[in-house]
């Protein structure tokens, strides 16, 4: 590849994706920093707010990318995402948590293996459960697949909550025919409704130790403590570092998925999305391709779940309700299914505007005006209108912003399906062909802007 070639490619890339991504991310960060200025945040507050935003951009971006493999590329209508996420993090916790004897307050222990092993086990487990769901379910119609996957994710949640799987006692020695295993674990289990305390090594620390960067990192923290943030800057820097780690993860997801999409394997997936019968007629074993794509996507969702929850101190079953699945769907539809860049952008916009935005808006209003206490219920809120005083209602609305943001999400979803079902970048949905199908002279790829229907009506 010659230098000019590289430059041309670089320019082409810059014109399209990098600028767009940077513009969106830049706008989000500027908005958050400005909001922080209004709140009167100091440096610590600003950094915390940025770390928080980065975290959600990272996880939603990652999961939207994984979903894009299912829906955008293959046309598999999976609404059981949160089940795979839950399996990922629960298996990681089970494998990596220290035994109860060493674990301090935790009631339920684990096998005490290194976190790396736990993460790999979690991803593999999510993939295996993907296989378990996909083997029977892939021959179903799209809407049946949807119902089966959401039922599966609920079964996963019931299992997490159940008393039956709450704790198991591991025997001191297990005799297997020729050799004896002596597990360190004493009590393991899923923790029931109380969930699990994630008392393994902090994931950031584990990663940096593996890379021999832990000492330099601590040195950097010490420098920051001396110069910028006087007392205890570590949690803030940890948050930022974890955010950066997630963004790197998003980059890796992106590379993996765009390479997959451009490979012969990916072309078959797109062909299945467009018309499964045709792909079948052309001699492709579509069931196998769908299965592989589903398992890969499920494993990535497991990884996404691990990265989302592993740095939290604990996990509880209510975090794994189907709402999370629908959040990721909304993110994908905003961005445009079928486009990897679009998926990430959708994740970022969803995280910054719809997921975290309303809360910031509420804080902004409360910081700008001194507003007193909100009414406790809707009745008191409406009572103000009797004396033509809208303030109680406004206060109640602001106070209920965490519920209303879900209303907003619903309305945005309806609006998108009415007006722009292809999302931001869905018009760039990749075609199944390996050559450019654009007519000479017209710009951009041809084809109708594909609706978010997975080729169902074609």
């Amino acid at each position: 590849m010659s230098a000019s070639d590289v430059r041309a490619r670089f320019r082409g890339l810059f014109e399209r994706d990098v600028t767009l991504v940077l513009a969106v991310l830049g706008a989000l960060y500027v908005a958050y920093i400005l909001a922080g200025v209004v709140f009167g945040y100091g440096l610590r507050g600003q950094l915390n707010s940025i770390a928080n935003l980065t975290f959600y951009i990272g996880v939603f971006g990652m999961l939207a990318l994984a979903l894009n493999l299912h829906w955008g590329y293959t046309g598999l209508f999976n609404i059981g995402i949160v089940g795979f996420m839950g399996i990922g993090i629960y298996v990681t916790a089970l494998v990596s948590k220290p035994p109860v004897a060493e674990g301090g307050a935790a009631q339920v222990g684990g096998f005490g293996l290194p976190l790396v092993v736990g993460v790999v086990a979690g991803v593999v487990a999510a993939g295996l459960f993907g296989l378990l769901v996909a083997l029977p379910a892939l021959r179903l119609r799209a809407d049946y697949l949807a119902i089966v996957t959401v039922a599966f994710s609920e079964i996963v949640r019931f299992t997490m909550m159940s008393r039956t799987f709450q704790t198991f006692t591991v025997p001191d020695t297990i005799d297997l025919w020729l050799f004896t295993i002596d597990p360190t674990a004493d009590t393991v289990g899923l923790g029931g409704g109380g969930g699990l305390i994630l008392n393994y090594t902090d994931p950031l620390e584990a990663l940096l130790r593996t890379l021999f960067l832990w000492e330099p990192y601590l040195g950097f923290v010490a420098v920051v403590e001396r110069t910028l943030i006087p007392n205890n800057p570590k949690p803030v820097i940890d948050g930022l570092a974890y955010g950066v780690l997630l963004l790197i993860g998003v980059g890796l997801f992106y590379l993996l998925l765009s390479r997959t999409g451009k490979s012969p394997f990916g072309r078959v997936l797109k062909a299945i999305r467009e018309d499964e019968d045709v792909a079948n007629a052309l001699g492709k074993d579509t069931d196998r391709f769908k299965l592989t794509a589903f398992v890969l996507g499920a494993a990535l969702m497991g990884l996404g779940g691990i990265l989302w929850y592993s740095s939290r101190g604990s996990i509880t079953p209510p975090s794994f309700r189907p709402n999370i699945t629908f959040f990721i769907w909304i993110a994908l539809i905003i961005g445009g299914s079928g486009s990897n860049t679009g998926s990430f952008l959708g994740g970022a916009i969803f995280a910054g505007v719809l997921y975290e935005g309303p809360r910031y808006f509420k804080n902004l209003v409360q910081a700008a005006f001194d507003l007193g206490d909100a009414p406790r219920n809707f009745g008191e809120a409406m009572a103000g209108f009797a004396s033509l005083d809208p303030m109680p209602f406004i206060l109640y609305t602001l106070d209920s912003v965490s519920q209303l943001r879900l209303v907003i999400m619903g309305v945005v979803l309806i609006w998108l399906m009415h007006n722009r079902p292809e999302g931001l970048l869905g018009h760039r949905k990749e075609t199944a062909s390996s050559v450019d199908l654009a007519r000479p002279g017209s710009d951009g790829p041809t084809g109708n802007p594909a609706a978010a229907d997975g080729g169902e009506n074609q």
């Binding site: 209508f77 029977p136 379910a137 179903l140 119609r141 799209a142 809407d143 049946y144 949807a146 119902i147 089966v148 959401v150 039922a151 599966f152 609920e154 079964i155 019931f158 299992t159 909550m161 159940s162 008393r163 039956t164 629908f326 769907w329 539809i333 406790r376 219920n377 809707f378 009745g379 409406m382 009572a383 209920s400 519920q403 209303l404 879900l406 209303v407 999400m409 619903g410 309305v411 945005v412 979803l413 309806i414 399906m417 009415h418 079902p421 609706a451 978010a452 229907d453 997975g454 169902e456 009506n457």
Partner: protein
Amino acid sequence: MSVSETYVRYRQTLSEEPLAIGVLLVALWMAWSLASGLLSGGIQVSSLASLIWDGLLRGLIIGLAGIGLSMTYSILNFANFAHGDYLTTGAFAGMATSYLVAGIGENSVGALLLVGAGGSVFGGALGIGVTTAPLAVVLGALLAGIATIALALVIDRFVYRPIRGESGIALLITSIGVAFALRYLLQFVFGAGVRGTTAAGSVPRVNVPAIDGTFRVTAHDISLVVVAAGLMLGVHLLLQRTKLGKAMRAMSDNEDLARITGIPTERVIRTTWIVGAGLTGVAGYMFVLWKGTLGFNDGWLLLLLVFAAVILGGIGSIYGAIGGGIIIGLTASVSVVWIPSEFGRAAAFLVMIVILLFKPEGIFAGRTTA
């Protein structure tokens, strides 16, 4: 067919369908453990009867809610994920009416209309119940249906109608948006708390004797059976004896052809929503009256079971929805004989998945009525 032919066919089935063998083995194990449990006294007949009665009632609610879902599924060709929240809307509208009728004069109208949000009024104190406040209950059930019909028509006009021609999946995704908006608006207005709605203590009950004990039947159980049976019969007559039923069947077969034949498709769709949503609203109200508590998540939590019932019975068949509902309700209740009680709903989902694998068109398919 000779004996040997039958034998060969069975052997083929067994070798080709490993899953079928699994299902068969599980069924045999269940029968054996139930029989041995009953014989050894580990499972009481009366507690089994009580589970079956509970499952039957649950099944009636699921079936009643399922008729509406099944009708819109077959005529508009999409799985309406907002259906559960239609149930909740009906329940809230109906209960607000009941509260208002039962408690007007002594309590503030606002608190009554908000179904006692934030603990301002309690259903128990108002004496909500079919025997203690019959007028409140009847009006509540009526209003539940009317409010849900109005809601469904408004949503159809502004949300579904503009994208009528889109694929089922696009409509499904839209309905998820409707579900979110509706559910959290309900939470915004009525609050997040789960409230008790009936005077549970003063509901008349009889203990029906079973072999080794008794099981309890309350007046609310009976009223649920009466309402469900009445509405189901009504829908049956409506769809069998009127032109509407025929038009609906034609539309679910082929909408274009139906329109060419002169069937006013939009009017049929509107009627479908009216019938379906009316049943759904009443089902939501009866559900809340029967279980005695009301929360903004109730319908959503029931929705997957309703889907299971509709798929089980075959989409578009009202008998299928009722039959499927009863099977799902019984599964969710009675399965605790074999498995831990946390997994009752999981067992119902599993039954649905198994049916989808072996008979994706549903067990009552081919006898469609709507």
